[in-house]
Amino acid sequence: MAREVLSGDYAQSYAAKLARVDVVAAYPITPQTSIVEKLADLVVTGALRAQYIKVESEHSALQACVSASALGARAYTATSSQGLLLMHELLHWASGMRTPVVMGVANRAVAAPWSIDVDHADSMSQRDTGWIQFYAESNQEVLDTVLAAFRLSEDEAVRLPSMVAMDAFYLTHTVEPVDVPEQADVDRFLPPRSKVGTLDPHRPTRLGSFTSPEHYTEFRHAVASASKAAAQLAPTVEEEYARIVGRDLGGPLPRYLTDDADAILVTMGTATTTARSTVDALRAEGRKVGLAKLRRFRPFPSEEVRALGRTGARIGVLDRSFTYGAAGAAATEVMAALYAASPRPLVRSFVAGLGGRDITPALVRSLYRHLLEEEGPEVVWADLKVPPGEATAEALHG
């Protein structure tokens, strides 16, 4: 194990290299670009034996990966924001064709208005594409999760693609020490891909072509079953990773000081780090608060959320995106998972940190205060500068 100082982007690149990917195809977009720049460098210097396919768009990048994966190759791509939106059609193809592509996503706000800063709307709006989705808190977690994602995605019972998302700039361009596993250990953890369900050029078949109503539902149901299988297999994959590489990924919803908590905040990505230090500060002041990190959004860890609900604490879900006309996407999922809980805990949807706005310890404190002391609205835009009541045409346009 070598300790290196890596950005989140490079943690993705080195994870792909350790996974011995056969094919990389990607199109540059800030703040993802340095992932594939590094991979291009590794390929051209011979450090990684892979096909690096240059393409004209993200749509083609994912198409190249899906096609390679359909033939049994281990394929990796990375993108962000508008690029992920452009891939949307192919996201559905990838899961429907059961191609276990792994993709790094640099979570960046989507236009309009234009922004390059952190926000989860890009990947959260891909919720229903059949992809497994992980959200990382640190660069170490980025590297470990990419490797675990390949293993989970490629399992014969799963064969679904995964995206490993990380916050723009906070992770993508911030360097921190990362333990890079030995290649031999990764090889033991991640053997070459099974050929089950892959195409054979010597026995031509059509994959994903026109399907009548007689069969379509069953293929969709197969994706649903595979997604369920991914949730069931994930603990085994993580145990294997811990046994071989020596790090525990913590499951889909790692908890921090939740057992006796009166209020629990559910966070995703780097906001977790801020929230954890705020929990420590509040605990020192005698406030019983806790934290749960939503590491995996799809398949959604409903059972783990129900277990969290059984603590009896009030639960706030901090989303860095918004589902218009509803609430934060993670919040609606948490609420849905707890619907049948008895007693059903109070759940609030907090929206903050959009388009790179900083999620500060003071903001996190205000969320816990809101949970502990108020019966306020179900959805709170916690860091909004203009209160909605004052956002009149007069206020906006003078």
Binding site: E156, R203, P204, T205, R206, G208, F210, T211, F219, A222
Partner: protein
């Protein structure tokens, strides 16, 4: 679930693989207009063949375009692209 199995190793039942060649499935019965090719005007430039988005034109031994009626949707791109205007779109009856 998998249509038309002929492969010695059947694909997994949850993968949408089919072994029936796509040219056995006709896809253009609903066409409204059909391209009609005037071989007298055709210069065999093959632009129609290149532009056809559905590989519904093939070239005969002399290099003239021949319509594959089972696949042509009648989009008319060939007629628009044809430099000598040797292709006209005629309404199906």
């Amino acid at each position: 679930m998998t249509a038309g199995l002929a492969s010695p190793l059947p694909p997994p039942i949850d993968t949408p693989l089919a072994t029936v060649p796509s040219d056995t499935l006709t896809t253009a019965s609903w066409r409204t207009f059909r391209p009609v090719i005037d071989r007298g005007l055709c210069t065999r430039c093959n632009l129609c063949w290149k532009f056809c988005p559905d590989i519904a034109l093939e070239l005969d031994a002399e290099g003239y375009p021949v319509l594959r009626e089972a696949f042509c949707k009648g989009c008319g791109i060939c007629a628009v692209e044809c430099p000598p205007k040797a292709i006209v779109m005629e309404k199906e009856v």
